[in-house]
Symmetry: C2
Subunit: 617 residues, 2 copies
């Protein structure tokens, strides 16, 4: 079984986990290197906030929100995927010591178990405990934490056989994964029950409405993701897992339809999801304000989890495309370049440079214009840590006939093909800085097999070149560069070691315009280069009221070692007093340069104003 | 002293209260007629929710939020301005019965007085109690409620002499009004202390930040209204009151500068204020999303209160202009045409028709797309009731030389001029349906005096006609129509009974465009006619994705007896799937009619989609 966060027993593609993929130096490899520091940072804060001690102190000394246990579990999961940590055993022992004889485990509600399923987060916490245990089981084997998680899962199956769901979905996907890792079918059955019960309704009404926790309509009948974005996306992960393991095609198709509409009407250019601060929620279709975008980091994590599950189930490259977009423009945006502070929300427009949060204290506000070292609700840093730790698992897949490369990043890949043959590839690339991606065959499996490379949806005009000694190469004419369309390109051959495929992607900056139904960015353009969304950034002062001239090609410059782009803009004509009248403004003849940096880089040079969408002249 | 909610002892203009102005049949007179039913509706719900009983039941049976007492006080104020109510005495007696010996009065916190100034609302509740008492004192005289309010105010002066402010401003303006009504200077001094203390800071930090309750910066140093909109505007009312009564010109100028910037950058076309659901707050400059506009009804009420105070202090017609805009497009929008349900928030764009709230229960959500009969936080209906009850006080003012008409509505006005002479006018008009406003002199004061009429800021090309027998008319050539500029027009004469001035306002619909810095409505137009903002409304279904053709003049039709306007639109070209690409949409050649109704009328024909700002072709 692959060492991977999601290992379905069937589906179009099989994951290649951390045992099969090793990242080299590059955009993602460097971030996984940084993750050791991120994990230590998260551990420092989890201890400082008292969340680790919660498992061992007297109840009246417990600190933190009702879901504080889950932060420790996410951190344990990160440690597990990262190959262990000196503090792992101590933390796992502390967690196990707090477990009741019957398997109940929660530091917040010992005397009033399940008295508030709407807000109590007990099952949610189990979900993260189980995910940590699954990671440990797959990377290391049985241990204290795994036994605690299984006892908790058994307790859940007994206690929630007949009724009840959690206000925050998460346990559904975790139980299916535990089923996959242990073979115990009761976990799958319990996950199925949770999925089917939801929307009955199964929970009490709340001020935000039942849609907040996806209890307004059964998931099978919903047409789009709605309500709290992280809840909706974690639930969808669990629904896909249940559908795949039970062979419920209708259920899978329901999620696919919801994903289609969500991506077409409720997703930011960055891949971010969740457009409302109130309820941290999806808005209506085409309600995508850039300034008040919530686009929570954790929703980005959950969206990648979901996209990967749908990719494995269907093989459809659209899911890998969105995962890549979200990884580069939400996941990579959250942590500062030193890994010591994080965005919780990821707006696409910041009018006024924010104030530096007091770095000595956890921020009580998730709404800052600057990264903070920690939050009172600090899901995002831990979610980044567990995602970075499992990054190698999101690069490639295999099926009986070959290997598929989804994330174009420097790495070594080893894959077992269907008939027991083993293939090995390595990828060399400076992507996304440069557009050349070279795939080299390091070990030939013997006989014909297929290499599939994703061609990103924006990459019109990409070319693929074959350079090698194999005969009977199908899918490409040997020895020549050939234009390939966005989607995937597959080449089958009796590969020889040293054979190479080179994908050349067009990396010229491109201006992107929104669907006219997205009211909030009407008349605006964004700048993209490769998979990276850019933003105009002004450090320390407002951006100025300018309109960009898209007829002028942006010039390459450099900011913090990354490629920046300088474009031409013109000041708006603005008035004063009452801001409504018969005439529209127009621009002056002056020219003002405007510098765009990769969106994931913004806010790393101090308080800044920023906008992804610029008014177009 | 005028029977008016605000009676400064100095200023450019003097209010003419309910004893001096009587509304005739028309837009506002009809609403004041309806107010008797609104007051009964509010009383029914205040009883049903238990908020009236709270004053007499045992503490453990108390119901409602921490500020529920204030709802009864606002209702008592409405009853007082409305000339009394059969239930008034009973309610006043209940309130007085709950007062402690030392003057403390609050049904929520008897055992833990002032233990939570940030959220406790005790001083806020006193503020509304005092405003009700001032109304009663001015319209009727001393009574049970007045005595209770004075005892509470004395208690506040003693308890808060040295430190403390309320998390929700309101008592500041109330104490100044009580000073004005009683002559007791300690109330003014206490109000001054509250104003000066604020922003020290004087309160604890909260998750929403101290800006939420205007404790982030002293009011004297603030540059713009920020934080919770109702809090900010109530506070500003109190600040103007303190500044006027203490002759603190610097303090007055500070509020004027804050108002200027707020109106130029943080105000909706409707006059609505507050663009964020989170914190019910002002956003940054030019952050004015139409769909997520909060524009709370109560913020509209508070804005009119503030504008009227600034008008009285300065005589500047800009304040009357904004008050009119807010009255027609926020205040008049909240109540349904039958006065039995209310908008709490007043967004300018509703994408999807909402669901009817269950009219049998109070709505727990203030975010509905439909009016609800009541809310768990039900400030808005009571605030409408007290505003409608005092409407005659917002029509006209006087000074030593004459009478000023600010709100162009059918009415009779009687004014004492500076030298003891009395003048009487009557106004006949169908405004805002029609543009003719006839001012007739019913009683000549004897000698020369001045009639001033406001010409709204949008009324380019208005004409004024004099028809009468007075001699030596200055400000206008007699007998002829004359074009007058927006602002005010003043005519001085030795008026004779029967003399008439007729203002003719241009009532052709006009397309209005936003300042280019308002990102959320870039490329859009709104339709206005006279002081009324229009909106495209589609009952029962989405509006369709259309672009309006402003070269075609809208045609007049009728909806619910009001003037509707039908314009020409064209469907957008829209795509499917990923909503971002290299091309922008454009429109098709089809024509689609789009019907605009007065914004204040929307949602009266059932669930509807609506937008004030339409994309312009």
């Amino acid at each position: 079984v692959a060492e991977h966060p999601v290992v379905p027993t069937s589906g179009a593609l099989r994951p290649l986990g951390l045992d099969s993929v090793e990242l080299g130096s590059g955009f993602w490899g460097d971030r996984r290197e940084l993750n050791a520091a991120i994990i230590d940072h998260c551990l420092f804060w989890a201890r400082r906030m008292g969340w680790v001690d919660n498992f061992t102190v007297a109840p009246e000394r417990r600190r933190g929100r009702e879901f504080a246990d889950s932060e420790v579990y996410k951190l344990l999961e990160a440690m597990a995927w990262n190959g262990g940590h000196p503090a792992y055993e101590e933390l796992a022992a502390a967690v196990a010591s707090a477990q009741h004889d019957d398997g109940y485990l929660n530091t917040r509600w010992p005397g009033s178990r399940y008295s508030d399923l709407e807000w109590g987060h007990e099952l949610y916490c189990y979900g993260h405990l189980i995910q940590a245990a699954v990671a440990r089981l797959r990377r290391h084997g049985d241990d204290t934490l795994v036994r605690a998680a299984r006892r908790a899962a058994d307790h859940v199956c007994a206690r929630f056989a007949e009724a009840g769901v959690c206000g925050h979905p998460e346990i559904e996907t975790a139980l299916v994964e535990l089923y996959r890792a242990t073979g115990e079918e009761r976990y799958l059955e319990q996950a199925r029950r949770f999925v089917e019960r939801r929307g009955g309704p199964a929970l009490a009404d709340i001020a935000l409405g039942r849609s907040y926790f996806q209890d307004d309509i059964p998931v099978r009948r919903a047409g789009v993701f709605g309500g709290h974005a992280v809840r909706a996306l974690y639930l969808a992960c669990g629904v896909v897992d249940v559908a795949v393991e039970t062979g419920d095609r209708e259920l899978l198709e329901a999620v696919i339809a919801q994903w289609d509409r969500t991506v077409a009407a409720r997703t930011y250019l960055t891949g971010g999801m969740g457009s409302r601060h109130t309820g941290e929620a999806f808005g209506e279709d085409f309600e995508l304000p850039p300034d008040r975008a919530y686009s929570e980091t954790c929703a980005g994590v959950a969206s990648v989890m979901l996209a990967w599950r749908l990719l494995l189930a269907t093989g459809d490259v659209r899911y890998a495309d969105l995962a890549e977009r979200t990884l580069y423009n939400v996941i990579a945006t959250s942590p500062a370049i030193d890994g010591r502070s994080f965005f919780y929300a990821n707006p696409l427009h910041q009018r006024v440079p924010g104030h530096h949060p007091d770095t000595g204290e956890a921020s009580i506000r998730a709404y800052g214009a600057l990264r903070a070292p920690w939050f009172n609700v600090s899901c995002c840093p831990n979610n980044i840590a567990r995602t970075f730790a499992s990054l190698p698992g999101y690069v490639a897949t295999t099926d009986d006939g070959g290997v598929q490369l989804h994330l174009l990043t420097a790495c070594d890949v080893r894959a077992e093909l269907g008939d027991g043959r083993t293939a090995a590839l390595s990828v060399e690339t400076g992507y996304p800085r440069t557009g050349a991606v070279t795939v080299r065959v390091d070990r030939a499996a013997g006989g014909r097999w297929e290499i599939t490379v994703r061609v990103p949806s924006w990459a019109e005009g990409a070319t693929l070149t074959y350079d090698g000694h194999a005969e009977d190469v199908t899918g490409l004419a040997g020895g020549r560069a050939e234009t390939v369309a966005p989607g995937t390109v597959s080449v089958t051959a009796d590969w020889r070691p040293g054979d190479e495929l080179r994908l050349d992607l067009p990396m010229a900056p491109r201006w992107t315009r929104p669907d006219p139904r997205i009211d909030a960015v009407r008349g605006c353009v964004a700048l993209e280069r490769g998979p990276v969304v850019y933003c105009a950034e002004s450090v320390g002062e407002p951006l100025g009221d300018v309109v960009v001239d898209t007829t002028a090609a942006p010039e390459e410059t450099s900011v913090l070692g990354e490629i920046a782009l300088t474009g031409v803009a013109h000041p708006m004509r603005t008035g004063s007093g009452w801001p409504y009248g018969s005439a529209s403004g127009g621009t002056t003849a002056e020219r003002a340069p405007v510098t765009f940096v990769p969106y994931h880089l913004w806010g790393n040079r101090g308080p800044a104003a920023m906008r992804v969408w610029m008014p177009e002249r």
